[in-house]
Amino acid sequence: MDFLAQVDPRVNFWATQPGSVEMWLKILVGLVISAGAIFALIKMPTRGRRPVVMAFTFLCGLFYVLLWIWPSPLNRKPDEIARSPAEGVSFLLADTLPIVATITNILVAILLGLGVYSLIRLHGGRIIKRHADRGFSVVLLVSMLTITVFGYLDWGMRTFGDKEGKLLDIANWGFVNLGADLLFDGLLQQMDSAMFSMIAFFILSAAYRAFRIRSVESTVLMASALILMVSLLSAVVVVWNGNVTNLAAAMNVPLANPSIGEAGALNFLKISNIASWVTSFLQTPALRAVDFGIGLGALAMGLRLWLGLEKGGVSV
């Protein structure tokens, strides 16, 4: 942060010699304080916790609101001094952003640990209690453990044991590297792709049900889908559009007026133009309207959360 970086390093609490005992001591003290704060929050009754959570939410939200409202510094270099207090605030906000992002990453990492703990507890419990589907739990835990071990060993070898970058060449790979590659690229990625490809079959069965003409809405859906699907079939497009051109020629009506770049009435009858009209004049405005609604909903939701107006549910 800029305002801290300008303090004399000899009296700056945040500036510590890398790798020194003092640095490790400060990290330890920080960890103890954090653990204490988390423990106090856990033990606090829900009613007492609410103002604390609200205050933190407000402060965090205020940071991002200020970041958005406050004018951002123009063409700023890292070694420059702000010209005015207002610009100083914009410097401070810009410098704080990476720190806030780091704090968020640390929090997410801790939460991921909680997620993994939940997974192990659930499936471990199923194995111990001899649940009917315990076979799946065994497969999950064994897979998780195997890929974690191989992943960390591979990462360690590449990060600490391969200064010359030999492992960039597959010829130098050992058992661990090959194992990690097999598990990640050879199995996990392939299974992901297999799952994704299943969507094709699901689309077919869902489309069959959706396109059955049961009501006015489904008839409109069916008709517009048919137009768009037909417009993507090249053979049909060539024949259809050709017929429209021939009709215009037979009626001696120009298809388009090149002088002003506008299409004539008959030009609209081309299937590609009908499909384009459906997309541009029906689909796009409808999606924009939905976008406005979603954006406003998110804005209102964010406001209520930020100002602590939301009661019940998440803000119990």
């Binding site: 010699q17 001094i81 997410v108 997620g115 959706a210 979603i294 406003l296 909903g297 959360l305 549910g313």
Partner: protein
């Protein structure tokens, strides 16, 4: 540069929207009469779905999408809190599957609190809220497996869904579960409409908690959103008329990047200066009148202001060099 090239109109507009929402929240809190909300079939179906699950003795499945902890997942959890409340009252088992660790911890707290508020803490099963995985298709496979194994009677898919939406919806459909779905991802809404019984479209998703709880703050916020929509619709109508008129006019003045307008002068700049002045635009007289382009219309310029060279020329003092701790070379 024109008077409207200030760059603050977008912000002022958002502040007006915020004011509308806050004013209506205040109005709803002070007004005794309940404000009207139109019927939303998808939300009316929640009680029916839970009732069916209770009769069948099967669990209710809830999935808040695969997004991280944001306004969307928080709203999904708010709705699920209401679903869980009804399920807790009927003693119906629930399954809440999440794909994000942060959402998982919040979800667990929310559901636990719901059971506590109902005085049914002993009935809360911590394993009912599950972190499955944070990989998209592994999550899809995991949830599909759960749907098939436990034969859920009702499924609620509300939140941020992507390609996995149809996998969930079709799997749940295959076992005959009642499905209520809604996604803020508009590309996924058609899939849900095709495969699910009830779908919340667009902002109906955000209206759900107001609809279910009728809390004055939520209802007021919803009315505020409607005011905002009216304002936006008026702006769209105004913009349509102004732009339609402007686009029929001709002009030889064209707005373009400085690098395109004066390539010779641009080539004289150092790479650092080019980086600084990348955003600079100028109005250039091309000498040939053409129809007004989109970027020269008044409304476009209100929301996309022009930057000139002077405003981007900034001179600041440099910091004094401080020796690093532990000395240097």
């Amino acid at each position: 540069m024109q008077w409207h090239d200030t760059g603050s109109f977008g912000m002022i507009f958002v502040i007006v929207l915020v004011a509308f929402i806050l004013f209506n929240i205040y109005r709803a809190e002070t007004k005794k009469k309940e404000l009207y909300i139109r019927r939303i079939p998808g939300l009316n179906a929640i009680d029916d779905a839970i009732g069916r699950a209770t009769e069948m003795g099967k669990p209710v499945l809830m999935v808040p999408g695969i997004g991280g902890l944001n306004a969307i997942s928080v709203q999904a959890l708010n709705i699920f809190a209401q679903v869980s409340k009804a399920a807790a009252q009927f003693g119906t088992p629930i399954r809440l599957c999440v794909a994000d660790a942060a959402v998982f911890t919040v979800a667990q707290e929310v559901i636990r609190d719901v059971y506590q508020q109902q005085g049914l803490s002993e009935k809360f099963d911590p394993d009912s809220v599950r972190f499955v995985t944070d990989r998209q298709f592994a999550f899809a496979a995991g949830v599909s497996g759960l749907i098939l194994r436990e034969k859920v009677a009702a499924a609620f898919f509300l939140g941020e869904f992507f390609a996995e939406s149809l996998i969930f919806a079709e799997t749940a459909n295959s076992i005959g579960a009642i499905q209520v779905a809604g996604s803020t991802e508009k590309s996924q809404t058609p899939f849900f409409i095709a495969a699910c019984d009830y779908v919340l479209i667009g902002d109906e998703f955000y209206a759900a908690s107001a609809y279910l709880t009728r809390q004055p703050i939520l209802v007021g916020s919803l009315v505020g959103q409607d005011w905002c929509k009216i304002l936006i619709a008026a702006c769209v109508l105004f913009g349509f008329m102004v732009n339609s008129y402007q686009r029929t006019q001709t002009t030889s003045l064209q707005r373009m990047p400085w690098s395109e307008a004066e390539p010779e002068a641009w080539a004289q700049l150092t790479p650092e200066e080019q980086g600084n002045f990348e955003a600079v635009e100028v109005m250039k007289d091309t000498g040939t009148p053409t129809l007004v382009k989109k970027e020269n219309t008044g409304l476009y310029r209100v929301f996309n202001p022009m930057r000139d060279r002077e405003s981007l020329t900034v001179t600041r003092e440099k910091k004094a060099v401080v020796a690093p701790l532990g000395g240097g070379e």
